[in-house]
């Protein structure tokens, strides 16, 4: 498998999510990572070069997103829905954006321009802050995306991986409901699940049968 791994860590929010992914997700997939872009190394030009050099791959990204773009370390747009050359970078790829809102317009446009399958969020992605006494509950908020990437890397189809992520969300909801947390995290985990975009949800998110090809 080939994974292009991107953590744009340029403020407290993105550092929290990026550091968490590096400590948890990355160790599960590192043998298949062919390019890593993080912190100041996560520049749009570098990332685009990496996408060109690895034509069949899974891109997994964390950082700030908006409805129609995602940013790099210097707040330059990496991919924008108005870019007609997305296929140059994303053709034959599966894209996972752990970012707010980008599932709204950017994800469907990526698919329209030959990305095989897209996973992301069409709303804020909510997570506990590290100052909260129940910060350990962040595991439940991060586990569905971690499950998704690991499943895709193990050769699951987009549909199978999405289903596993949804199951992880169901477990997470149960865990938060039964935690000592008093209210708003109960809503956050449900909102994250509702905002999760994947090919099983709508064909605009790509091909349910898409997989990352085995390397030969």
């Amino acid at each position: 498998m080939s994974i292009i791994y991107i953590d744009v860590k340029n403020d407290e929010d993105s550092i929290q999510i990026g550091d968490y992914r590096k400590q948890h997700l990355y160790r599960h997939i590192q043998l298949d990572v062919v390019a890593v872009y993080e912190s100041s190394g996560a520049q749009a030009s570098n990332i685009k070069n990496g996408c060109t050099n690895h034509p069949e791959a899974l891109i997994t990204y964390s950082g700030h997103g908006d409805f129609d773009y995602i940013n790099d370390y210097g707040h330059t747009e990496i991919f924008h829905a108005n870019d007609n050359n997305l296929a140059t970078y994303l053709q034959e790829k599966i894209v996972h954006l752990h970012a707010c809102f980008a599932g709204d317009s950017l994800g469907p446009e990526m698919v329209r321009q030959k990305c095989k399958a897209f996973f992301g969020y069409n709303d804020y992605f909510k997570a506990p802050h590290e100052d909260d006494p129940d910060y350990h509950l962040i595991d439940h908020f991060m586990n569905p995306d971690e499950t998704l990437v690991i499943q895709l890397n193990n050769g699951a189809t987009a549909s199978e991986a999405a289903n596993m992520a949804i199951l992880a969300y169901e477990s997470a909801i149960e865990a938060i409901d039964n935690s000592s947390q008093n209210g708003n995290y109960h809503i956050f985990i449900r909102e994250n699940k509702d905002a999760f975009c994947h090919p099983n949800k709508d064909s605009k998110y790509g091909d349910k049968s898409a997989t990352i090809l085995m390397s030969v």
Binding site: E12, D13, Q16, H64, C100, Y124, K126, A127, P128, H129, D131, D132, P133, D134, D177, N178, S180, Q181, N182, G183, N184, Y185, H186, I187, F188, R190
Partner: protein
């Protein structure tokens, strides 16, 4: 806290939620989840929680936030750390995040009432 052991959904209601406002009655009096539960049990009247909620949504959200314990701290893009005090401030200032924070409280009310009324 009212207990009903045979309703697992009801048992998922955090104890502090029982004393938080979930709506207003027809006279404008605040109704907590505990009040609502008692009224439902007595069968005297069924309160339509959403009948006057829209016009009082900001006040209801603020009242809940001013009394809630253990409010989960989180991040909002462009704001950063949001704790209970910050949420109150953002709503009072009518910031661009105020509507989301009000909706969050209303969704919490809906989830708790749904658990209360669950027959599972």
């Amino acid at each position: 806290m009212p207990l009903q052991k045979k309703n697992p959904e009801r048992n998922k209601i955090p104890k502090d939620q029982w004393d938080l406002v979930v709506g207003l009655d027809n006279n404008g009096n605040e109704i907590t989840l505990k009040d609502y539960d008692s009224i439902q049990k007595e069968g005297v009247m069924r309160i339509q929680l959403d009948s006057n909620r829209e016009t009082n949504r900001k006040m209801i959200a603020l009242h809940r936030l001013e009394n809630v314990k253990n409010y989960g701290i989180f991040r909002l893009p462009g704001v950063g750390k949001v704790d209970r005090e910050k949420a109150i401030q953002l709503i009072k200032e009518n910031s661009k995040h105020a509507e989301y924070l009000i909706q969050l409280e209303l969704k919490t009310i809906d989830l708790m009432v749904q658990r209360l009324n669950s027959t599972e």
